[in-house]
Symmetry: C2
Subunit: 232 residues, 2 copies
DNA sequence: CAGGCATATTGCGCCAGAACAAACTTTGAT
DNA sequence: ATCAAAGTTTGTTCTGGCGCAATATGCCTG
């Protein structure tokens, strides 16, 4: 395998406090791996043997119910750690992770976890910050699911995605990975039919523009309005 | 203030690995405080100045939306830590915490947190296990809110409460703190009306028995059935 | 024990959104 | 080009459960 360059990690929060040699050390312990779009990295409740860093692409954490329904818990953008079950005192992965687009990851055996925490300055702190952020996101999800209507949930989900992975494009901000109506409905707890109707309506109003597997938000303000307004 | 006894902490997971002197140390740093039923311990987004151990009673973490709706995130049973914002890399509390019944807590200034983590064996590990468990609970909530119907959500919420704080009583298992239909609806993302109807119906079937602010589950199996069954 | 307040029950109408159904479009493979 | 598969749109029907409103019941206070 080609030797990995230190600059890959140097600017990422979990490693930003570390010196060159330490990063070299870490990289030499890592394995890099490429995943196709839609590939499964690991399954829920599997033994948590590795922890991962997402170098490029997007992955999502999801659950599959006994009835076969998919519920998306979380999207992870490039640059973040995932599969960090040990940070939560768990020995199995709490969710299934699959790639949303082609993805490049680094991984380390979980047996190295304690030494990463102990040896590398800032690694623990940043990791727990990440955990805290995800927890916050989940709380927001719960609140939204509890009190918001479908339309509001879809609107704020779109806003969140734009915020996390939006890429400037002409006429709006593009969500930077392939996303279907079904995906959106898995994130919002509704059906793809309803999402389709909403997007069509919004497109007519010029708020979004959507092609197959692609959504561009043209008027974020309008979505914000939709997501907060309590309709009469 | 009366001196606290070491036996208070000795058997609790975060401290169970510690020796007598260490526990003494910890207790001497602690302040104990009693809260009335329904009292607020701290508010969301307040500066996280303390971390808490719940010695007796039950507290709940909740959010209040701008519109004034309450969403209950989590119940914390006696013996657990809460307000551990620092474990999540946060400097403010992520939710409001209020007591559900009369409660006794110990608290320490958050400035002691780093030293607790560093000095006391097992404290960090157990803390993160707690975080992991709560995260798991939240995931379950999200899944339930996404794919289950109101009746199923109420049923499984009742089961969870029975599981966490149930106390054997004649004729069934009693939920060991005062709980209103409104509370239940805040936990399940529905209205108190619907909860009331459901409880009435279940009472007629002999599945539960409810007085004012009190619910007893007589036939857990029936609730389990209700919570999983995919109604035609 | 009277009055007042919080909690609970119940009936009714209505509508957001799910379920079902079917056609259409884009993409990619042969 | 042709075909198949995946994704999307749109129409119609139906219902769970919310909103509103009135009433009942237990609980606390003075």
């Amino acid at each position: 395998m080609a030797k990995l360059d230190e600059s890959l990690l140097a600017h990422l929060p979990p490693f930003s406090l570390l010196g060159r040699e330490q990063i070299r050390e870490i990289l030499d312990l890592a394995t890099s791996q490429r995943f196709e779009e839609g590939a499964t990295v690991y399954h829920e409740s599997e033994d948590a043997g590795r922890f991962y860093l997402l170098l490029d692409g997007t992955v999502r954490a999801l659950h599959i119910t006994p009835e076969g329904e998919h519920v998306t818990a979380l999207h992870v953008p490039a640059g973040q750690l995932f599969g960090i079950a040990r940070a939560l005192g768990r020995s199995t992965y709490p969710a299934t992770v699959e790639t949303v687009s082609e993805a490049i990851v680094l991984w380390w055996p979980m047996s190295l976890w304690p030494q990463f925490i102990a040896r590398y300055e800032g690694f623990a702190t940043e990791t727990y910050r990440t955990v805290g952020e995800r927890l916050g996101e989940m709380q927001t999800r719960i609140i939204e699911l509890s009190v918001l209507h479908v339309e509001q949930r879809v609107a704020s989900t779109l806003l969140r995605l734009v915020d996390q992975t939006g890429r400037k494009a002409e006429g709006g901000i593009l969500i930077d990975f392939p996303i279907t109506r079904q995906d959106l409905s898995d994130m919002t707890g509704t059906t793809l039919h309803t999402v389709s109707r909403l997007l069509s309506a919004w497109q007519k109003q010029g708020i979004v523009e959507s092609r197959r597997k692609q959504i561009m938000v043209c008027e974020p303000q309008s979505l914000t309005a939709l997501s907060t307004a309590r309709p009469a």
